[in-house]
């Protein structure tokens, strides 16, 4: 479904991604883990077209999207929940969701119903300004907003960041749920333990390079990973 092939991404002179390749097959949950500054967010931003790679190629649904503008990828079935949520703080929950359906106008009502079923807390706050939501609610809104475009692939950048443990559990339950309902997921996480537990496969990024890859279970057992990311 998604094939990233040898991409190199620069911020001016900073070489942020070095020959990164990865693949996501239909129906998988793939985790991308790594320390702060490893290049995880850069990878997602390059896939979704917010950044450009100098070399290499990105294929999505058998189409080369290396030069496709970000806004066009939404209607091709890609959704990106950015790090730090980036909900529209001055707009209401409903308006945020409507924007999520910007390219798939026909399904607004149905989509909003689905999101409210998945995130009942949002329903009670639908006319509230997003800036007044709690962090967890904003994360749910960001995920709900991404679901409004009925994506085939959803990429999430640290959805558990800054949330209380109980909320982290909830967010991971929702991810698992999404996966079971047929959505393919590329998950970026610092919480390596949780991520490896639900992932079919995972990649480890270190200083802009893919260091390791394998199934979630394999990586969770690997000594290297245990030492670096799982606290022993």
């Amino acid at each position: 479904m998604l094939k990233v092939d040898n991409i190199n991404v620069y911020y001016g002179k900073i070489h942020a991604l070095k020959d990164v390749s990865l693949e996501v097959h239909p129906g998988e949950i793939v985790a991308l883990i790594g320390a702060n500054g490893a290049g995880k967010s850069t990878t997602l931003k390059t896939i979704s077209g917010l950044l450009r790679s100098k070399t290499g190629s990105i294929n999505f649904m058998d189409e080369n999207i290396s030069h496709t503008e970000a806004y066009k990828l939404v209607s091709k079935g890609m959704a990106h929940v950015p790090e730090g949520r980036h909900v529209f703080l001055q707009m209401t929950v409903l308006e945020n969701l409507e924007l999520g359906a910007y390219t798939s106008g026909k399904y607004v009502k149905e989509g909003i119903q689905n999101v409210f079923n998945r995130f009942p807390r949002l329903k009670h706050r639908k006319n509230q300004i997003a800036g007044t939501l709690s962090g967890g609610e904003q994360q749910m809104l960001a995920m709900g907003r991404a679901l409004m475009s009925r994506p085939k692939l959803i990429m999430m950048d640290e959805p558990s960041m800054g949330l209380a443990p109980i909320l982290v559990e909830q967010i991971f339950d929702i991810i698992r749920d999404l996966h079971e309902s047929g959505t393919t997921i590329l998950l970026v996480e610092q919480n390596a333990e949780m991520a490896l537990r639900i992932a079919d496969r995972a990649y480890v990024l270190e200083s802009g390079r893919i260091k390791l890859s394998g199934t979630g279970a394999e990586l969770a057992q690997s000594d290297e990973i245990k030492k670096a990311y799982l606290g022993g």
Binding site: A70, Y71, V74, V87, M91, T103, G131, S149
Partner: protein, 293 residues
Amino acid sequence: MTFVSNLINGISLGSVYAIIALGYTMVYGIAKMLNFAHGDVIMVGAYASYCTMIYLNWHPLLSILFSIVVCTILGVVIEAFAYKPLRRAGSLAVLITAIGVSYLLQNAALLIWGSTPKIFTSVVNIKPLSLFGGKLTITAESIVTVAACVLIMIGLTLFTQKTKMGKAMRAVSEDKDAAELMGVNVNTTISTTFAIGSALAAVAGVLLCSAYPTLVPTTGSMPGIKAFTAAVFGGIGSIPGTMLGGILLGIIEIFSKSYISTSLSDAIVFAVLIIVLLVKPTGILGKKVTEKV
């Protein structure tokens, strides 16, 4: 009665400022840039209307429409050629470019129409309203200007709150990348904003010259700067704030002209701006800007 008539003149002048300021506010809100050429678009709009009325004998309404079309195209072209290539450049580069565009338009106008003032014929040919047995007269221009301003504000508010494009604009103004991830074409949205702002500039130009009929290539620059001041004063980025800022500025200007000194009126206007910004840096109705890292 002079007080009331001054107040009316102030509101009317302020309405012109408000219409111009709305253009500044929209462009600033969405593209995060100060389009210093905005005032000169006003001037081009006034010339477009003048020429079609005088040389081609067009009906005033038709000439206004023509002027709106010319300015809309001009605004979109300026954005596409001068600002779009600088989308990722620093704000100083953009500001300098905007100043360059402003001079370009003024000098082009100087070449085409020369420096001799043209006397604009008012597009409103209705008799003034006479009240209290002639003690108070309100020009039809004033009434039309204020009405246009109110209509524009209502229209813009509905547009940004209710329409899909309007919501996309608000999204882009808050967070460009996130809007792009929703499938919003940010470039198109910015062009549309320039189109709307420039169309408003055309209306403002025609109304301004109907009330103050001397038209020269620099006609737009002072009102442009004042309208920008008004936008900052009321709260740049906020439609009601901008409108309020424009009207207050008009009132302050007319009152200082008639009660203090004609030559000091501009100084007083800017002094008030400075005081307001010292007390409330975001302007009267401005929202707190949430800068994200």
